[in-house]
């Protein structure tokens, strides 16, 4: 244990992916925690200007994950937080090939480096509920023990399965390291900017015809809290992180005041691929599968072990709606007004007919 480090809390923490939204916020929050001596942010790219204020107490190192080994040994790192995952291919940054390189190869290299780091005693890896795949025979609610029935079609889902496989191997080789895998539901919140928040920000939202998937979200701030607790406390194992409760997709769209546009399922994957290549949106098979099957996880283990319950899916989504009320097509007040208008109209017609007769 590093002198000065509080028992339980590690002294030197490395955070990967600080160039991205989640990584930057986690690193900043760890840096603000007095129990942690040093927070080192690692990213192959220089963090964007929007994060410079956030990261002023974080030591930033511009580094590829394959050269991490020396760093972990030299700096006597106690804990590694691996957040450098890409959830959707970005055509400007190399598409699916670069995404896989970053997710799978990056994690392999990171774990190889961690395996050789003598002082390391804690590893926190970001995963996703996409690890459960999507199948018609799936149970309605996934617990951490549920095995995926089919390998996901989407790239991100497959990457997540690979990543979790590597972490399992790491656990076997380094049983002394506390490894925590956090399977996050899609992030949402007032500030988060993800594929899904962009999806719900559109005025007209495409859905799959005849399907109303059950969705769960986790509020971004709650995700930060869980990540922070994973580092300063001891929570070995795999945890689902999601807001309790469920929203159906149409319900979410209606609550957000958007209009759903059902699209026929056959050919949807192809259409999504074409749209992606043309540069409209980044919907892939991961999103199509989510919108056909939905995904609900059980968070009992998280609540029990962490003593923390994220805010409910509905509350997290409300927070998102409040921040994105700009694109509202149908508001609650308009609906109430329309209801009154129709009711009055019917009453007038009826009284007119009554007087005539």
């Amino acid at each position: 244990m590093t002198p000065g480090g509080t028992p339980g809390a590690p002294g030197v923490v490395v955070v990967t992916g600080v160039g991205r939204y989640l990584g930057a916020h986690v690193a900043a929050r760890l840096a603000a925690d007095p129990r942690i001596e040093r927070v080192i942010g690692v990213d192959p790219a220089t963090p964007g200007p929007e994060f410079t204020d956030l990261l002023d107490r974080v030591e930033r190192i511009r580094l590829d994950l394959d050269s991490l080994g020396g760093l972990l040994a030299d700096l006597e790192v106690d804990a590694v937080v691996h957040l450098a995952l890409v959830s959707a291919p970005d055509q400007q940054h190399g598409g699916r090939a670069a995404m896989k390189e970053q997710n799978v190869i990056g994690t392999m290299q990171l774990l190889a480096a961690c395996q050789r780091a003598p002082r390391l005693r804690k590893l926190v890896v970001r995963s996703s509920t996409a690890a459960y795949g999507a199948s018609f025979r799936d149970p309605a609610v996934f617990t951490e023990e549920t095995e995926p029935r089919e390998v996901p079609r989407g790239g991100f889902g497959r990457d997540i399965l690979d990543i979790e496989g590597y972490v399992r191997g790491f656990r076997r080789r380094r049983p002394d390291v506390t490894a925590t895998v956090l399977r996050f539901a899609p992030f949402i919140g007032s500030t988060a900017d993800t594929t899904l928040t962009r999806y719900f920000s559109q005025p007209v939202v495409p859905t799959v015809f005849g399907r109303d998937p059950r969705l769960q979200f986790v509020h971004f701030d709650d995700a930060l809290e869980v990540l922070h607790r994973s580092i300063v406390e001891e929570h070995p194992g795999t945890y689902n992180v999601a807001g309790p409760g469920v929203l159906s997709l149409t319900q979410a769209i209606r609550r957000a005041g958007r209009v759903a546009m059902p699209v026929l399922e056959p050919g949807l994957s192809g259409a999504a691929a074409i749209a992606r290549n043309l540069g409209f949106g980044r919907y892939g098979l991961d999103q199509v599968d989510l919108f056909v099957h939905g995904r609900v996880v059980d968070t009992t283990r998280l609540e029990r072990e962490y003593g923390f319950t994220p805010r409910s899916t509905a509350a997290a989504f409300d927070d998102f709606i409040r921040a994105h009320h700009g694109g509202v097509v149908v508001s609650r007040d308009q609906l109430a007004a329309a209801e009154q208008l129709v009711l009055e109209g019917i009453r007038q017609v009826r009284s007119a007919v009554r007087e005539r007769s």
């Binding site: 149970p139 309605a140 609610v141 005849g210 109303d212 059950r214 209606r254 609650r332 209801e339 009453r347």
Partner: protein, 406 residues
């Protein structure tokens, strides 16, 4: 048989729906309704789903008052003004005593003008029965469009089920199939139970009718959470409806989770073997699969309530199964009935058979929790359930000599 008479009474006590066009054959079959039952609840249960909508307590209160008022006032000649002519004509036209007349507005539901002309004079105030109905319907629509409702983790949407799905099935089971439900005291008022039934009917209408009838007639108004084959969840639209009405995929994690939450779970272990059997095999229980339902009950210590459903076999009597076509369409069977596919969409209308549903005494499993993985215990229990259902089926069939009787 006194038990039978009691059941009969129970059945007629239930608020009767209105006679929609669907209900005609029921009456032709000699389906009598008591005048009291017909008159009073006409306002409550009608094809229009709005009245079931528990929107707010504030609006509900005057609702009952407004609904009771017209039925009390209308027959009173003093209250009938000169402008009441259409009403009295309607009364005479139906040729019946007053309850028939009270029933009239219900039949006029789709016809807006008739309804307006009719309801107008009876209640001069604008807050009348039809106004309530319209307001309720609009409030329901507004809540749906605003997303102002809750779904549980399985996707069950009680708001939609109560307001749309159950009223539709109610029409079917009460007026078309004249369903009699018995042994409701065997279904616990709270806590989990696994309801195991026989499956039949080419289209699995029996599951829908069982769940709606149980919810309507059980004193605790319990919802039956059905477990469906994965084919149901493969199909668009159908999967959505199945989840919203409380169904989920038939698998042990879901069954145990629902039972663990204290829900009433309904399962048909015959699966497609039961639904897709030929008419000549009617009321012969098929194999009960691997008994997965028994191990789910054993693991949670839940009592098993066998239920026998008579009537489902005659709704679409399956004369043949075109297997190549079924394989082509990736369906478990392709039915040929006297009306399907010959009459096209008309062949989808179920034949109006007489239905009897009987819940049998629960089989406790709490003492067997440790043997959930013991195949011998599981198979024995599955056989016991199967035998109970089969014997109850035979008993019910004796009570119903004519499948299309009253």
């Amino acid at each position: 048989m006194s038990g039978r008479d009691e059941r009969r009474d129970g059945r007629y006590d239930v608020p009767l729906t209105v006679a929609g066009p669907d209900a005609e054959p029921a009456r032709r079959n000699g389906h009598r309704r008591t005048t009291a039952a017909a008159a009073e609840p006409a306002a409550h249960d009608e094809p229009d789903t709005a009245t079931d909508e528990p929107d707010t307590a504030a609006t509900d209160e005057p609702a009952t008052a407004a609904m009771d008022e017209p039925s009390a006032d209308e027959p009173d000649p003093a209250a009938v003004a000169a402008a009441d002519e259409p009403f009295r004509m309607a009364d005479q036209r139906s040729g019946g005593p007053e309850p028939a007349a009270v029933e009239e507005p219900a039949e006029a539901t789709p016809d807006d003008h008739g309804a307006v002309a009719f309801a107008g004079p009876a209640v001069p105030d604008r807050r009348d029965h039809w106004d309530r109905r319209v307001a309720g319907g609009l409030a329901f629509l507004r809540r749906r469009l605003a997303g102002d409702y809750e779904v549980d983790e399985f996707g069950f949407d009680p708001h939609l089920t109560d307001a749309v799905f159950h009223p539709l099935v109610r029409l079917l089971y009460r007026d078309w199939f004249r369903t009699e439900v018995g042994g409701l005291e065997n279904v616990p008022a709270d806590g989990p139970a696994l309801v195991v039934g026989n499956h039949s009917g080419t289209v699995a209408l029996d599951a829908l009718i069982l769940s709606a009838a149980l919810h309507d007639q059980h004193p605790a108004r319990r919802y039956l959470r059905l477990l469906g084959a994965d084919l149901v969840f493969r199909m668009p639209v159908v999967s959505e409806i199945a989840r919203k009405t409380g169904g989920t995929v038939a698998c042990n994690p879901d069954a145990e989770r629902l039972l663990g939450n204290g829900q009433l779970v309904g399962v048909f272990p015959e699966g497609f073997k039961g639904v897709g059997k030929l008419y000549s095999d009617r009321y012969k229980l098929q194999r009960f699969g691997r008994g997965g339902f028994v191990s789910a009950a054993l693991r949670t210590g839940t009592p098993i309530v066998p239920v026998a459903i008579v009537g489902g076999e005659e709704i679409y009597p399956m004369l043949a199964d075109i297997k190549p076509l079924a394989r082509l369409l990736k369906l478990p069977y392709f039915p040929v009935t006297p009306t399907f596919p010959w009459l096209g969409p008309l062949g989808m209308v179920p034949l109006p058979s007489k239905w009897l549903i009987e819940f049998c005494p629960p089989i406790p499993t709490a003492h067997l929790t440790d043997s959930a993985d013991d195949p011998l215990v599981v198979f024995n229990l599955a056989d016991q359930v199967r035998e109970t259902i089969q014997q109850t089926l035979h008993r019910l069939l004796e009570r119903r000599p004519d499948p299309f009787g009253p």
